[in-house]
Subunit: 200 residues, 2 copies
C-alpha cells in the first residue's frame, strides 16, 4: 500500500493518522540524510525515530522500498516555471534548479541513493524515476524540441545526447565540483558552452 492509496482509502479528518504518516516519512528522510544506505535502513529504526510502532508503518506500507520511494518523492520540487521565450534561458532555469537543490543535505542523500543504489534496488529506482525524474526530463526535452523548431538549436540535434550533456555536466559539478559558493552563473556557463561548442 502506498501513501497515496492510504490517503484515498482513509476517511477525511483523522489527524492523528496523518501526523503519524508525516513523522514516518520525516524519520525515513532523517536516517537517509544521516547517510544511511537503504540496506541498513530498517523498519525498526524508522519506527523508533518516528515514535510509532512498527505495525503503524506496516498498515501504510507493505515494504521498506515503497516507504523509501514515497519519502524521497516528497523532496523533489516541481518542475520550475519556464518563461518560454528563450531556449537558452529555459535551459539555464532547469539546470539552475539542479544546482540549487544539490545544496540541501537531504537532496544530496537522494542523489547518492539514485546514483549508487539503482543497481541494487531497481524496483525502487524505477518508481522514483517515474515520480521524480521523468517530469523534469520531459520538460527539458520539450525545450530542446522547441529550440530545434525555432532555429535556436541545430535542427539535426540528437536530443538524448544533448540532454545527457546538459544534465551530466551539472550532476558532475554537484557531486565533485564545488557548487557551494556558485550561483546561477554556473548554469549559464554550462549552457553557453554547450550551445557554442569548445571548437573555435
Amino acid at each position: 500500500m502506498t501513501i497515496q492509496d492510504a490517503g484515498a482509502a482513509r476517511p477525511a479528518g483523522r489527524p492523528r493518522s496523518e501526523k503519524a504518516e508525516k513523522a514516518i516519512l520525516e524519520a525515513t528522510l532523517d536516517l537517509i540524510g544521516e547517510g544511511m544506505g537503504i540496506s541498513e535502513l530498517s523498519i525498526e529504526a524508522i519506527a523508533a525515530r518516528a515514535g510509532v510502532g512498527k505495525t503503524t508503518i506496516y498498515r501504510r506500507w507493505s515494504n521498506k522500498e515503497d516507504l523509501v520511494v514515497d519519502a524521497l518523492a516528497t523532496l523533489k520540487a516541481p518542475v520550475p516555471p519556464l518563461a518560454g521565450e528563450s531556449v537558452r534561458d529555459d535551459l539555464v532555469t532547469l539546470l539552475d534548479q539542479m544546482r540549487d537543490e544539490s545544496g540541501h543535505v537531504r537532496t544530496k542523500c537522494v542523489m547518492n541513493i539514485a546514483l549508487s543504489e539503482s543497481d541494487r534496488y531497481p524496483h525502487l529506482f524505477e518508481k522514483f524515476r517515474k515520480i521524480a525524474i521523468e517530469p523534469r526530463r520531459a520538460a527539458m526535452r520539450q525545450v530542446l524540441e522547441r529550440g530545434m523548431a525555432s532555429g535556436e538549436l541545430r535542427s539535426t540535434l540528437e536530443i538524448e545526447l544533448a540532454m545527457a550533456i546538459l544534465t551530466g555536466t551539472m550532476v558532475w559539478f554537484t557531486k565533485w565540483g564545488d557548487t557551494s559558493d556558485r550561483g546561477p552563473e554556473l548554469a549559464e556557463g554550462i549552457v553557453d558552452q554547450v550551445l557554442a561548442g569548445i571548437a573555435p
Copy 2:
C-alpha cells in the same frame, strides 16, 4: 600501513605472504562487487572470504579504509596511450576507456562508491582521487591545453568547465544510459557534439 609500505618493508621472496595479500584484496573487491557498502564491510567478513585470520589483515593494514583504497586502486587501468595527433581523437580515446571500464561489474561498484560514499568517507575518497582519478584528469587537461595552443580548440576555453562537460556526460551515460551495446561511437558522438556545440 599500506600495501606499498608492506611490500617495501618485507624481505624479498615470501610467497605465502604475497598470496595472502592478494587474497585479501580480492576478497575485499568481491564483497564490494556484490554490492556491499563500505560501512557494511567488516574486517571479519573480508578475513572469512579470504580464508585468512584477522591478524593477517591487521599486520598489513591498520584500518578498513586503507585496505579499501588499495583494493580499489588495483582496479583502475593506467591512462590509455594517446596518439597525440588529433585532440578530437585523444579525447575520444579517454572517454571510450571510461565507457569500456564501466561494463565491468567491479568497476561499476567502484564508481558507486566514488559517487555515493565520498561524503561519508572523505579521507578514503581523497586517497582514491589521488591514486586513480587525478592521473586521468591530468591527461585530459594536457590534451585540452594542447588543443588551445594548436587552434583545435577555442583559445579562451575554460578548461575545468570543458572537462566537466566531457567527463560528466560519459558518467551520465554509464550510470543511467544504456552503454551495454554501444561501442566507441558513443565517445565519438559526445566529443563531436561537445566540439561543435548544439546551437546552429
